[in-house]
Amino acid sequence: MTDLVEAELTNNYEKYYRLVFSYTHNEADALDAVQEGAYKAIKKANTIKDPQYISTWIYRIMINEAIGILRKNKKFKTVDSTFEEGKNDNYADLDLQNAIEKLELTDQTIIKLRYFEEMPLKEIASILSTNENTVKSRLYRTLDKLKTDLEVK
């Protein structure tokens, strides 16, 4: 199983990196997160029962790493909140990007996995350790919320 996890990590490192980066918006943090995520995945590789879920499982680990880094940074930011965070990415639809970033992290994750990674709801549910219906209702609620947020502007 370790070999399979390793192959998945090295073959698809780009998609894991992008996802992590979409949380951190910062290259150094994203690199830290993927390295730590890869470390944890290999460490725990033997606990996976079914090779079919390797990718789902790695996604979960990577998302947790990314969110962990966000939390750490957030604590840091409160010390000097006047400091504007540098962003390497540049989305054309800034309003939408801002609206997405204001969402709860779980909702952000659902949007990213659903639309950017084109993942089926079922897989998203297993990444978030919840059920498909919950993901579906959360997704619709989030879409509504984004719509209202953007209309107000």
């Binding site: 090295t10 990196y17 690199l31 947790n64 939390r71 779980t106």
Partner: protein, 281 residues
């Protein structure tokens, strides 16, 4: 709306992946592999049947030993003093699978509540062990372990709270707790409802306080439901919510991992200040 998000996808895909990404991933992989090599001195596969047999032997020997039984009865107890001894304590390992169990036995003279806790916790631990064995059979893994341990959280004149913690580092990596609280004056194993006058609404004020504490925490730390119908996230405690009473006599409400927040926050606990519980009538 969905179209606008779809449009963003292209930009998402254009996120520049630096060359370093692959080497950093490889670095993570190699560090983990090296650590594994050191720790896995035995590559021998664990045989589920062997573990099962070892369990049976261990349990029988402790439970049926007259010496052990005598040793337990000779501990002096005065009044409502609660004493906890380790009734079963063993570690088994086979290859990389290991089980470590510390089972408590609460001793208190003429306390039916203590007897009840012992019977219930013993059954609970047996269930956990059986489940773990099943899991081991099901999945082909070199690494799995189950640790069951207990701790006395509170032992005051009025209350006694015991925590039985189980950590399963197999497939899930879950940690779960079961708490027992005894009202010493009534000699009764209490659940939340017993702590308040009959018919009093304790659920709302306690839930409100938990939400207040959740909201005070870092954003996104907890799943809070927007309304009660919302099946997901926290809206209110269950009448039989896991809890214990701390040394100060405050109720501490406990949740399991993933119950009210992402796995990264672990199993959260919320201490409910006395002024809130005192006001419940």
């Amino acid at each position: 709306m969905e179209n606008r998000i779809e449009n963003m996808k292209k930009e998402y895909q254009d996120i520049n992946v630096p060359n370093e990404a692959l080497s950093r991933i490889k670095q993570g992989i190699n560090t983990a592999k090296n650590e594994k090599k050191i720790s896995s001195f035995s590559k021998q596969k664990r045989i589920a049947a062997g573990i099962a047999a070892a369990f049976a032997v261990c349990i029988i020997s402790v439970n049926s030993s007259p010496i052990a039984a005598n040793a337990m009865s000779s501990i002096p107890v005065i009044g409502r003093i609660f004493e906890v001894i380790t009734f079963r304590d063993y570690t088994l390992s086979n290859g990389n699978t290991s089980v470590s169990v510390k089972e408590p036995k609460v001793q208190a003279e003429n306390s039916s509540a203590a007897i009840q806790v012992n019977a219930d916790s013993s059954e609970y631990i047996d269930d956990l062990l059986a489940e773990f064995e099943e899991d081991c059979k099901d999945f082909d893994s070199d690494y799995a372990s189950l640790d069951i341990d207990y701790s006395v959280i509170t032992d005051t004149n009025d209350y006694f709270s015991l925590d039985i913690a189980a950590v399963d580092t197999g497939a899930s990596g879950y940690e779960f707790h079961r708490f027992y609280t005894i009202d010493k004056n009534l000699d009764k194993v209490v659940s939340l409802i017993d702590l308040f006058p009959e018919g009093a609404d304790y659920i709302t004020p306690i839930s409100d306080e938990i939400i207040r504490q959740m909201e005070a925490g870092p954003e996104g730390s907890y799943f809070i439901a927007e309304n009660e119908e919302d099946g997901e996230g926290f809206s209110k405690i269950s009448p039989e919510q896991n809890f214990y009473i701390n040394e100060e006599g405050c109720i501490v409400i406990c949740f399991e991992e993933y119950e009210v927040g992402p796995g990264s926050i672990g199993a959260p606990k919320f201490t409910i200040p006395k002024d809130i519980t005192d006001a419940i009538k």
